[in-house]
Structures are given as structure tokens and as C-alpha cells.
């Protein structure tokens, strides 16, 4: 190769490609490292909540447990059941991880659109995607293919049941999840996540969408937990009923891929909750667009990560706080509570925008909608109890 040819090649590599590669490496690398320690944190938190000690044998306080786990996942025997559909069985964990990782591409994981950030750092893999929110929901709902294919290909009744449940659950919760965010898209008149983030940051503390859309925040958080198959909505893998659900037959690294996918989903969800409702990297006095001191972007990054961390810890706390829903309760919650509520919330946003009312009205309206929903459900329950034969009446038939 003649001299100078290599320099030419570098000239043709666009700067953007390098930046994107840095962003991908940073995001995926950080993600994998963080997930392994989040798993340790979750195990520790679970243990503390249950008055246990948690992993404490590998290194002081068990801080090297993730390495032991990783080694175990790599070295364990990788069993493929004899009657499994091999192609789908192998593809399923990959699809599960790929789709959740893909969704992270449009999520800003640091301060975007801020001065002072080094040129090679861009805290989003794919910037300026106009349909960012739609992209995320489209891609994360594909994650259910990993679950369904895995359950089906295992050729195991429990796995199939688990994946059936998962598909019904994800389809049901997709609707409130998308509709709860539509209100924000209407208010900000954009679907671009970066723009939504910038709007809140420049608007200040009271412009966080949480204050105008508290109900949407609740609905979004609830359905996102259901989408991620986290407790109390982990019906697709509940151990007591379905052994392990769709991943019963999976072992070693393939199981780890499913696990990684689930955690990536949790992280994406937490990022979205913070970015859509809690102002992203913005925090009054500490990190505002006006803060121009050197290293302000690091503070912003830390603010964002702290918020995300708090949401993740909340998800972990909720895991041992709420018992798992029964399947009909799960469906009732989605179809009878979350979908009507998110529809009503969207209507409220549309009405407010159409008639040009003050958008601060949306906060009280959300609370009002929530109260109305509560009153209606109390009424229904009372009516149901009234029309049911009382236990004493029943007793005449039962006791001989």
C-alpha cells in the first residue's frame, strides 16, 4: 500500500461516525458494567428488605459477586433441550437483548444540547430522531418476540404458558404506555426526546412535565413496569406457578442474555421516566441552562444519573412491596383503569390546548380524573357486593 493511502482513508471517515462509535461504546460498555452491579444492588436490597445479608462471600461485602456471576454464566453447561426448535431457541435471547438495546439508541443518557461538553462526547447514540418516542415504543414492544419465541421454542408447557401471558400483557400495556406519553407530545408539540428534555430544562423546575401530567406519569411508570416484566407484573416468569416461565429451559449465557435484556429495559424505562417527567439533567440552582461554570456538564450528567438511579431503586423497592397481580387483575388494571384514564388524560390535554386555557389547569384536572376513577371503582365494587348472595345465604346450601 503506497504511503498516504491510510491518511486518505481517515479523511473519508466522517467525524460523526467516530462520535457515534464513541457513544455506542460508552453506552453499551457502561450499560453492561452498570447492569452487573445493579443486579448485585438488587440482590443486596432484596436481602436487606427481607432481613438477610445478601451475597457477601466474594470480596468484601460481596463486591466482586458480579465477576463470579459472569464466570459462572460463561462456564456453566449450556443445555439445549432435545426437542427444542434450535434456531428459534438460539435466536430468542439475542432478539430479547437486541431490541431493548436498540431502544436505548434514541435515549439521551447525559446532557444534550449543552455548551462545554467535549466534542467527542455526545450523550445519545442517534441524535435528532424526530420520532424518538414512537421509535422506542415500536422497538421495545418487539422485545416480546424474544419472550414468545423463547417460550415456544423451548417445547415446554410452562414456557409456552409464560410466553402466552407475556404477549397478552405486553399488548395490553402497550396502549396506556403510548397514550400516557401522547399528552406530553401534544404539550411539547414534538416526539423528539431531546427536544422534550430541552423544553423542560429551559423552562425551569415548574415546567417539568410531572406538574402538568402527574396522572400520565403514574400510568407511564405502571405500564412501563408491566412492559419490562418486573414485579408486580412478572406473570410471564412467576416462579411459583410457571417454574421460570419462558426462560425455564434456558441456562448459562443464554439465560444471562434474557436477564440483560430485562435490566436494559428497566434502565431505559427509568431514563424515560426521568427525561419525560422529571426534567432530565435539570435541577434548580445546581444544573440549569444558565450554569456556565467549568464542568457544568459533569454536574448535569451526575444529576441525570442520580435521578435515574433513584427511579431504579424505587422499582427495586416496589418489587418486594407489592404482591404479584393475578392475571385477571392485571388485565382489569390495564383495560378498566389505565386505558380509560390515559384516554381521558389525553382528551383533557387536547381540550386545554384547543381552547387555549392555562396549561397549569392540567395538574388539578389529572388529580380530578384520578379521584373520579377511584369513586367509580368504589361504586362498582359496592354494586358487585350488593348483588352477590351473602355468605350466610350461601351457607344454607353448603352445610348439611
Amino acid at each position: 500500500m503506497p504511503d498516504g493511502r491510510m491518511d486518505k482513508i481517515f479523511e473519508y471517515i466522517p467525524e460523526n461516525l467516530l462520535i457515534t462509535l464513541v457513544a455506542i461504546v460508552a453506552a453499551v460498555g457502561a450499560m453492561l458494567g452498570v447492569i452487573s452491579y445493579l443486579i448485585l444492588l438488587e440482590r443486596k436490597l432484596s436481602a436487606w428488605m427481607q432481613d438477610r445479608r445478601g451475597p457477601n462471600r466474594v470480596g468484601p461485602m460481596g463486591i466482586f459477586q458480579p465477576f463470579a456471576d459472569g464466570a459462572k454464566f460463561l462456564l456453566k453447561e449450556d443445555v439445549i433441550p432435545a426437542n427444542a426448535d434450535k434456531v428459534l431457541f438460539l435466536a430468542a435471547p439475542g432478539i430479547g437483548l437486541l431490541t431493548t438495546m436498540l431502544a436505548f439508541a434514541v435515549v439521551p443518557y447525559g446532557p444534550v444540547g449543552v455548551e462545554g461538553v467535549p466534542w467527542f462526547l455526545r450523550f445519545i447514540i442517534a441524535p435528532g430522531v424526530d420520532i424518538g418516542i414512537v421509535f422506542i415504543f415500536a422497538v421495545t414492544s418487539l422485545a416480546v418476540y424474544g419472550v414468545i419465541l423463547g417460550g415456544w421454542a423451548s417445547n415446554n408447557k410452562y414456557s409456552a404458558l409464560g410466553s402466552l401471558r407475556a404477549s397478552a400483557q405486553v399488548i395490553s400495556y402497550e396502549i396506556p404506555l403510548g397514550m400516557s406519553v401522547l399528552g406530553i407530545a401534544l404539550l411539547g408539540s414534538t416526539l423528539d426526546i431531546e427536544k422534550i428534555l430541552t423544553q423542560q430544562a429551559t423552562g425551569g423546575f415548574w415546567n417539568w412535565y410531572f406538574w402538568t401530567q402527574p396522572l400520565a406519569c403514574l400510568i407511564f411508570f405502571t405500564s412501563a413496569m408491566a412492559e419490562a416484566n418486573r414485579l408486580p407484573f412478572d406473570l410471564s416468569e412467576c416462579e411459583q406457578e410457571l417454574v421460570g416461565g419462558f426462560h425455564t429451559e434456558y441456562s448459562a449465557m443464554k439465560f444471562a442474555l434474557f436477564f440483560l435484556g430485562e435490566y436494559t429495559h428497566v434502565i431505559t424505562t427509568s431514563f424515560l421516566t426521568v427525561i419525560l417527567f422529571f426534567g432530565g439533567w435539570h435541577f434548580p440552582w445546581i444544573a440549569t441552562p444558565e450554569s456556565t461554570y467549568t464542568g457544568a456538564w459533569i454536574v448535569m450528567l451526575l444529576v441525570l444519573l442520580t435521578k435515574v438511579f433513584m427511579v431504579i431503586v424505587l422499582i427495586m423497592l416496589l418489587r418486594w412491596t407489592i404482591p404479584r397481580f393475578r392475571f385477571d387483575q392485571l388485565m382489569n388494571l390495564s383495560w378498566k383503569a389505565l386505558i380509560p384514564l390515559s384516554l381521558a388524560n389525553m382528551l383533557a390535554v387536547m381540550t386545554v390546548l384547543q381552547f387555549g386555557w392555562d396549561r397549569w389547569l392540567l395538574g388539578p384536572i389529572s388529580i380530578g380524573l384520578f379521584v373520579i376513577a377511584g369513586v367509580i371503582s368504589v361504586g362498582f365494587k359496592r354494586a358487585e357486593i350488593r348483588h352477590r348472595p351473602s355468605a350466610v345465604e350461601l351457607s344454607h346450601h353448603l352445610v348439611t
Binding site: 428488605m49 432481613d51 423497592l317 384520578f370 369513586v375
Partner: protein, 227 residues
């Protein structure tokens, strides 16, 4: 058999109010509990290999063959234990006692006990007329081969030599007396298998078999309550 009508208590489903139907107060209540456990962290787990549990006195572990005052094996090869054994894990070959053992006719030439087959029911201990076989507190029995865990006479005597000075494994031999259980005026309390907090139901029970408090983790240590 049908249950008598007056013995049946019918319970109506409790009515749910507004706040209960919205789920939120219950969730916050639950969060308060879980967070309290994290911030006020008091583990109850025992760190096993470092901290060994204090087992109740009636625990039945690995067997031993007791020695008499002269250091000879106490067993008289009467076969009662082998007969009583429901798992059929004891095999004894008796032979005539040496002439300088005038107190018995027979003694076990071989005494092999399959520790893997044993179900640790303690019937051999009960059957033995001379209190020669006893169950100790040793529970962490391990071996690399099955043959290793076929305990013969010498091994069982070894277990005796190792455990005879342990206060938790006292020699229970009392020739001509009934067993220790016969002397209980009332049933002693038995600690639960795991430690419980004083607020626990099993700690508050006054019936035998369940009482346990923090001050007195093992009632058998207290000469006042145990025999």
C-alpha cells in the same frame, strides 16, 4: 364427617373504601415497611461456617458406640438395634466375648453402620439395653466415597472419643433407669429451628414446644426450666 353448623364462622369480604380502591395508600404503606427494613437493617441470618448453630439437645446426628469404664466397647451384640432399625442400616457380627470380659457373653466382632442409609430416627438408641449406641450432635457428615461412610466399630468408637467431653453430647447412660424423657415433670420447651423476634407468634405461645425468647435462646441451658 360434616362440620357442625355452629362451628363454622362465615366471613364477609371487607368493604373497600375510596383510598383502598385507588391502591396508592397501600403501596405507600408497603414502601414504608420495605424502606424501614433497608434503613434499619437487622439481619437474622446466621453466617454458617463461622457461626455454628446451637442445636437442641434432642438433635439426632451421627452415631457413636460408647465405651464402658474400662475403655472397652459397651455393646453386647444383642442385635436389638439392628432389629429395631427401620432403615436396616446396622449389621453386626457377634462373637463370643473374650474370657477376660466376664460381664457379658458376646461382643461385636464387626459393627457396621451405613450412615448414608440411616434415617436418624434414633430407634437404635431407644432399643439398646446397655446404652451403647447413642446419637450425637455431629450433623456435617461428609465423605468422598460411599465406603467412607460405612462406619465400622473403630470409627464409631472414635466418634465417642471425640464427643464424650462435649457438654452438648453428655453420656446419657444410666444403667437400670428409664431414659431422660421419663423424668420430665412437664414437657420442656423446645426452641424453634430458627431464631424469632419476641413479637413473633411462636415466641408468644405458652404451650410447650414453641416457646422461645431472645433472653433465653435455648431453654435447655437454663437449669430452671429444663430438667
Amino acid at each position: 364427617m360434616a362440620v357442625a353448623k355452629e362451628d363454622v364462622i362465615w366471613i364477609e369480604e371487607p368493604e373497600m373504601g375510596f383510598w383502598e380502591m385507588t391502591f396508592l395508600p397501600a403501596i405507600f404503606d408497603g414502601l414504608k415497611t420495605t424502606i424501614k427494613h433497608v434503613t434499619n437493617y437487622q439481619p437474622v441470618t446466621q453466617q454458617y461456617p463461622e457461626e455454628k448453630p446451637v442445636l437442641p439437645l434432642h438433635y439426632r446426628g451421627v452415631h457413636r458406640l460408647n465405651r464402658d469404664e474400662k475403655g472397652r466397647v459397651k455393646c453386647v451384640a444383642c442385635m436389638l438395634c439392628a432389629t429395631a432399625c427401620p432403615a436396616d442400616c446396622i449389621s453386626i457380627e457377634a462373637s463370643a466375648a473374650p474370657p477376660d470380659w466376664p460381664d457379658r457373653d458376646k461382643f461385636p466382632a464387626t459393627f457396621v453402620l451405613d450412615e448414608l442409609r440411616c434415617i436418624y430416627c434414633g430407634m437404635c438408641e431407644e432399643a439398646c439395653p446397655v446404652d451403647a449406641i447413642e446419637l450425637t450432635h455431629i450433623y456435617d457428615l461428609t465423605g468422598e466415597t460411599r465406603a467412607e461412610l460405612m462406619y465400622d466399630r473403630e470409627k464409631l468408637l472414635d466418634v465417642y472419643d471425640k464427643t464424650k467431653d462435649d457438654p452438648r453430647d453428655p453420656l446419657r447412660t444410666r444403667r437400670g433407669k428409664l431414659g431422660p424423657a421419663a423424668e420430665f415433670g412437664s414437657l420442656p420447651t423446645v426452641a424453634p429451628a430458627t431464631q424469632v423476634t419476641p413479637g413473633d407468634r411462636s415466641a408468644q405461645s405458652t404451650a410447650p414446644g414453641t416457646i422461645h425468647t431472645y433472653n433465653n435462646p435455648n431453654p435447655f441451658d437454663d437449669p430452671g426450666t429444663a430438667r
